[in-house]
Symmetry: C2
Subunit: 240 residues, 2 copies
DNA sequence: CGATAGCCTGTGGTCAGACCACAGGGGGAT
DNA sequence: ATCCCCCTGTGGTCTGACCACAGGCTATCG
């Protein structure tokens, strides 16, 4: 509320935010060129660039060189990237304890599963596709975990809540490096992979059967079980 | 995974992230000066500044001019600001539908209330303090809503989950402008304020009494009730 | 007349250099 | 011993200059 000196790049950011809020620009539209915005707002191009950089990392715009309709800064509003960057860096900087990340994932995953299982119609085609892909026997742990991430993300997307889906993606990527590192703590990886496959299929089956309670239990045990095995948590209680 | 041309500012960002991940720098530490980092990494100072700007908006660092121990870029890891900026801009750019934001808030608020009510010990001192502050009769709607935001945030913080607390703060700020605009849709504001006060007290009482189920019901009705009255939702179903 | 090759323009990406305001420390003056 | 001022190094900003790139336009050629 209390505007400090109001740095130049913040001015640019606020200008663009106001344009977005008032509907003057929206997804698919072009932002003015850096040079044009600079002269319009009376700031240097470098300040405009700093604001653009922020918008880009936050997943709000996409920039391209060259000319033509695809060049310049275009509003895209892709929340996943920004959420991932934010959570990843915050975890790295110890702003978010790992335990809280896992706990939050439990909360969201529970909500996702509940929503899908309780809804009248559900589209789990993509999920089943990933389920099959994970049956391949020649997957490296990294490949397997990447598919696992996609599978859980597909559920989040199937829930129809874009905010939760973005948060899930972010939470996942924020602990990705730790999960990768935790693989070594698992003595028998093939056995773990088999167990995860089984749990996934059971979970999806419960969801498809609209069995809310079973779905919730399975997803909770699935996640806590894995993190415990990988030695990534010091004490996750249900909190839900 | 697939690194594209690798822009200069991304290089800087990755360098810093690696230093964070490997523990070479942490909260409270100073980053090298912009000029030093530029020469170290072989990039221009403007590129370093763009990376710093991103880190600043994400709440990872704080920059100050001048000299001395408080000057320069310092790692702070304050997640709230970044989460707010991200969600606020994404909602403004229509990347997040308002309904999804509200639905997500319901999910998180439910988790928060459940966690506090179910925990053995709880610290709701700050919450009670805000409860009393909201009894003042000379509050403008804006003041009242600001306190309301703080109250819900205090609950999130009391739950002990920093990730959820940050997300709640972000969700709140992302819809703040809409909430402010929605006040006009409420015919009898004083009556609404009274109703909100009552609901708040009942909710906190249920939490303090460790009554999980009542707490969940109250918080759900409290939120859906308000948004419906303010005409901000087209159809929020429980999803939980 | 039509197709094609090449120029021309405008975009973001980057760098170098120059200021400025600011805050603090150290050294000189009192 | 105290106080004050300069000096240094910080981020903040602007300017100007390149570069690579992509697309449209145009002149050329078949």
């Amino acid at each position: 509320m209390a505007d400090q000196p109001a740095r130049a790049w913040q001015l640019v950011l606020e200008h663009i935010e106001r344009d977005l809020l008032d509907g003057r620009i929206g997804p698919g539209d072009h932002l003015p060129s850096e040079r044009e915005l600079a002269t319009t707002l009376g700031v240097g191009r470098s300040s405009v660039r700093e604001a653009f950089r922020v918008l880009e990392v936050l997943g709000l715009i996409r920039t391209s060189t060259g000319s033509g309709p695809q060049s310049g800064a275009i509003v895209i509003a892709t929340p996943t990237g920004g959420m991932s960057a934010l959570l990843r860096l915050q975890v790295a900087a110890q702003g978010f304890p790992l335990d809280d990340v896992v706990r939050t994932r439990l909360v969201l995953e529970d909500a996702v599963v509940t929503a899908i299982a309780a809804s009248a119609s559900r589209d789990t085609a993509r999920t089943h596709q990933l389920l099959d892909a994970m049956d391949a026997t020649d997957l490296t742990p990294a490949d397997f975990l990447a598919l696992d991430a996609q599978l859980h993300l597909s559920l989040a997307e199937a829930s129809g809540n874009t905010v939760i889906a973005a948060m899930m993606a972010g939470l996942r990527s924020s602990i990705e490096s730790y999960v990768q590192a935790g693989v070594v703590a698992i003595a028998d990886w093939p056995a773990m992979a088999t167990r995860l496959r089984t749990e996934h299929r059971a979970l999806v089956a419960a969801i498809d059967a609209a069995d809310v309670e079973t779905s919730r239990t399975l997803v909770h045990d699935h996640i806590t079980g894995y993190y415990t095995s990988a030695g990534l948590t010091r004490g996750i209680h249900s909190q839900n």
